[in-house]
């Protein structure tokens, strides 16, 4: 906790945010209420994450300093490219299978970002699926036999399956973009 010249207490937190938040300067100091009022000026998705984190911080000072983390942006760009580059294998095209459409790619990105932002997991593989969509999977960092597989279809339905070794542990229809039950099961 640091006292500023005008007497405000500043609590510094490393909150990972995209650089779009910091176009005017690399580091900005936001009084908490300003952050909430600046909703339209900032990227909504990340602001929600920031506000969520603020809500969990106990005894916070009157000002929060948000520090840009360049690794976050690099990782996000990498994830974006992984999905954008997904293409149907040539041999599949002649069999009448459909290329993942743009909506499917966008939804896949959103899920991958969400799981990265909230659970710090990165996909092991991202690829086109024979079911007309995009497949991606994650390996449990502690138990490498445990795999979370997700498919996003061109009609934007989403299915998730957790397997361990040769066994299917659980499968989920994803409703309302709620991955909490999936992640609870994956991390169990």
């Amino acid at each position: 906790m640091v006292k500023t010249e005008n007497g405000f207490e500043i609590q510094t937190y490393d909150i990972e945010t995209p650089d779009a938040l910091f176009q005017r300067s690399t580091i900005m100091e936001y009084p908490k209420e300003d952050i909430e009022e600046s909703y339209d000026l900032l990227l909504a998705q990340h602001l929600r994450a920031v506000i969520t984190k603020i809500g969990t911080i106990q005894n916070a000072g009157s000002t929060l300093k948000l520090t840009y983390n360049p690794h976050y942006e690099i990782t996000r760009r990498h994830l974006e490219n992984l999905v954008s580059d997904v293409a149907l294998p040539k041999t599949w095209k002649t069999e009448g299978l459909a290329e993942p459409n743009q909506d499917c790619k966008q939804k896949s990105k959103e899920i991958i970002y969400k799981l990265f932002d909230e659970y710090r997991i990165l996909p092991l593989r991202v690829a086109a699926s024979v079911e007309n969509g995009i497949f991606f999977c994650y390996k449990d960092p502690v138990n490498s036999a445990r795999i979370l597989s997700i498919e996003v279809y061109n009609d934007l339905d989403v299915a998730a399956v957790i397997s361990e070794g040769k066994t299917i542990v659980a499968s989920f229809d994803i409703e309302n973009d709620d991955y909490t039950p999936v992640m609870h099961s994956f991390n169990a």
Binding site: S129, E131, G165, I168
Partner: protein
């Protein structure tokens, strides 16, 4: 690929066998390429084309016979899974489907076809059925993962 088509794949007057005659321990052979393999040497779930998954029945063929299928190559590999695996959770069942293609007969040909909820594994589903609702996609996804995880690579592909 040997130039001579295996005689044991020809019909030779044999008739289609009902699904009830499959034994749980019988195996089904499927041809694949290196593009169907993960970096760690497993089978890619996203490449498993289920339903109507085309295979050869171990009772009437050898693993290398899959190279004689349409568009088969001498570089193709073969993986196998049991009939028990093909009937995972009553989601599918193998159907004997002797076929004639490009002037060649394949008596060993089998299609693993999707069962709808409530159907027993001894029922023979027709070809080309596929439900597209979310629940069906989830069932098929779990099925494909289970099949990939419970297959054994018998011949590794070279291309």
């Amino acid at each position: 690929m040997p130039e001579v088509y295996p005689e044991h794949l020809e019909f030779n007057g044999r008739r289609k066998i009902p699904t009830s005659e499959f034994k749980e321990e019988d195996r089904l052979f499927h041809g694949f390429t290196v593009n169907d393999m993960t970096d760690s040497g497993g089978i890619k779930t996203e490449n498993v084309r289920f339903p109507d998954f085309s295979c050869n029945w171990s009772r009437f063929s050898n693993p290398e016979d899959i190279r004689f299928r349409k568009n088969g190559l001498t570089t193709d590999g073969c993986y196998a899974f049991s009939v028990e695996t093909s009937r995972y959770n009553n989601i599918a069942t193998p159907v004997h489907d002797p076929m004639q293609e490009n002037g060649s007969e394949n008596y060993a040909h089998v299609e693993v076809r999707e069962l709808f909820e409530g159907e027993e594994v001894l029922f023979e589903p027709p070809k080309g059925r596929k439900k597209d609702n979310q629940k069906s996609k989830k069932r098929r996804f779990a099925y494909r993962i289970n099949l990939a995880n419970n297959s054994e690579i018998l011949i590794s592909p070279t291309a």
